[in-house]
């Protein structure tokens, strides 16, 4: 939610000389993306997004992230297309940062998505999974259970400050998830962070999927479980079964889930909730008040975790194996 690195007009002009995008008309730092600095550029060739990669992104992963967007866009997924430099490269250097230019997608992210939007998200996620199947690179998911353990180690000491009893509850959750976590589900490239602010709509039409900086290789059904957490809970913490049914049906209209994937949804949803709760908890405890990184209440996600813990089968999500 911030612009960390300021860019001068002169250095931006020099950077753009490496591209075939016309003349620079304006650039504005935009308050989107929590990890990098982003600018919206207007050029005589059209609008673009300029991203400067800050310290939270490992630069060795950029060929994976940008290559994946390139691959998906060429397979018809509505995601930003990294612009190639005249020399063929996808990144350059700007203001002391590695930087990339990507196409700008019109559309708005929805603060209040409906079931119809959830269906479109399900379809887009399945299409993304299919389109990524022949992408030649791979990236380990650093935020699997072992990675969550590390986050938890950094936050556990003070977690009871957030809610009394949270330490015992999360310790128990880890023990159960490590026992119940599936080992043999269909896997491939997942988006990893398909929350509403990463999906654009124009009316009811899904016009863009953005922010591939958590993409990695993992279970497809885990990605779907993240969408359940991201799209189907209401502000009052209730789970909207209509949205969930639409999300899952949308997904299955493009890629049919195997019975084992469906059966695993409750445990995958618990794991996904735990993963997002832990990153929020870490920020909650370590980031100064009023800082540039927006802090969000980890307890909102603990409530989702508790919901999934009480689910006995995926039928409660509106899907039958």
């Amino acid at each position: 939610m911030a612009v960390y690195t300021d860019v001068s007009e002169g250095e931006l002009q020099a950077f753009l000389k490496g591209y075939d995008v016309g003349d620079l008309l304006s650039y504005k730092g935009i308050a989107e993306g929590s990890e990098n600095s982003n600018y919206l550029l207007h050029t005589s060739g059209g609008p673009y997004i300029l991203t400067l990669y800050e310290k939270r992104v490992d630069h060795r992963d950029l060929p994976f992230f940008l290559g994946l967007m390139d691959h998906l866009a060429h397979k018809g997924i509505v995601c930003p297309l990294p612009v190639h430099r005249r020399d063929g490269a996808l990144t350059g250097s700007l203001a002391g940062r590695v930087a990339a230019l990507i196409t700008f997608l019109e559309g708005m992210w929805l603060r209040k998505p409906t079931a119809a939007h959830c269906r479109e998200v399900g379809k887009a996620l399945a299409a993304l999974h299919l389109a990524g199947a022949d992408f030649p690179l791979s990236r380990r998911n650093a935020l699997q259970i072992a990675g969550w353990r590390k986050l938890w180690a950094g936050a556990r000491d003070r977690a009871d400050e957030v809610e009394q009893g949270l330490v015992a509850e999360i310790d128990r959750e880890f023990a159960e998830l490590e026992k119940a976590w599936p080992v043999d589900l269909p896997e491939g490239i997942i988006h990893g962070d398909l929350f509403p602010d990463n999906v654009f709509f124009l009316g009811d039409r899904l016009s863009g999927v953005i922010d591939f900086y958590f993409a990695c290789n993992d279970f497809y059904a885990y990605d779907l479980a993240t969408c359940m957490n991201a799209w189907c809970f209401e502000k009052d913490h209730s789970y909207n079964l209509t949205k969930s049914t639409a999300l899952l049906a949308g997904y299955q209209s493009i890629r049919l889930l195997e019975p084992a994937e469906i059966a695993a949804l409750p445990v995958l949803a618990r794991g996904s909730a735990l993963r997002f709760m832990l990153t929020r908890l870490y920020d909650w405890l370590t980031v100064a008040d009023g800082a540039l990184v927006q802090k969000r209440d980890p307890m909102e996600i603990v409530r989702r975790l508790r919901f999934h813990r009480a689910v006995r089968s995926a039928a409660e999500y509106g899907i039958e194996a």
Copy 2:
């Protein structure tokens, strides 16, 4: 440098129904303007800036600010044009804030302006002064010496924390300025904050003057003295006489300064430096580290104040009466 108020797509669509600007395609919160929340909109009718007025702006001043932009734009000044609603109004209500839609100006603000740019700024400032002469509304400058006194009262106790001896120095400065401040110079509408981030260029052509939220009635030469402070000092704190000469010559090519205005420039420049030093000092001492308001070192401006204090006549700025 922040977006304080989030706007949902639904409420923005509803707000835009009051305007004749086509369909909404996208909107991004932009990291510009320290006082208000600003969004860059793309509509089928083109790009626009949406401003939500936050608490630092007195809403009773909006007819002055927006009416002035409207007046100046129609007189050929390259400034944003407030878009009239279908019912004729210049503001509406959005997300619990008073909000206005203004035209988007292409162009970049310059981190490293040259003397040629300073000349253009001088010309634009003089043209703005002339174009504002028949604007029917007026607004008292709240940041004249009496207003500075209030800022100083809120910061004086802790000013020596910033630099030992600052309290005595600024007390002395107030005493001298109150004695030497001119009483009878040509006056009218001034911009009040014409720093480089409020002026856009496309190449060497000045393409926009923005941010009229400090505009008020005061001495024209005071506005010019603010530009000297804003445009003519280098990063190493030296005063660039070439830029100053160009700024003043540019101004005079459009509006000739009276001998009394020229003679008053050193004291006006001291007053302007004091005014901007005090708002920085206030933020420096009161705003939490890492907060959304960007803090800038007040001592940078104290150095400018000291420079002007040593100036014996405006000839040292590159202008003769």
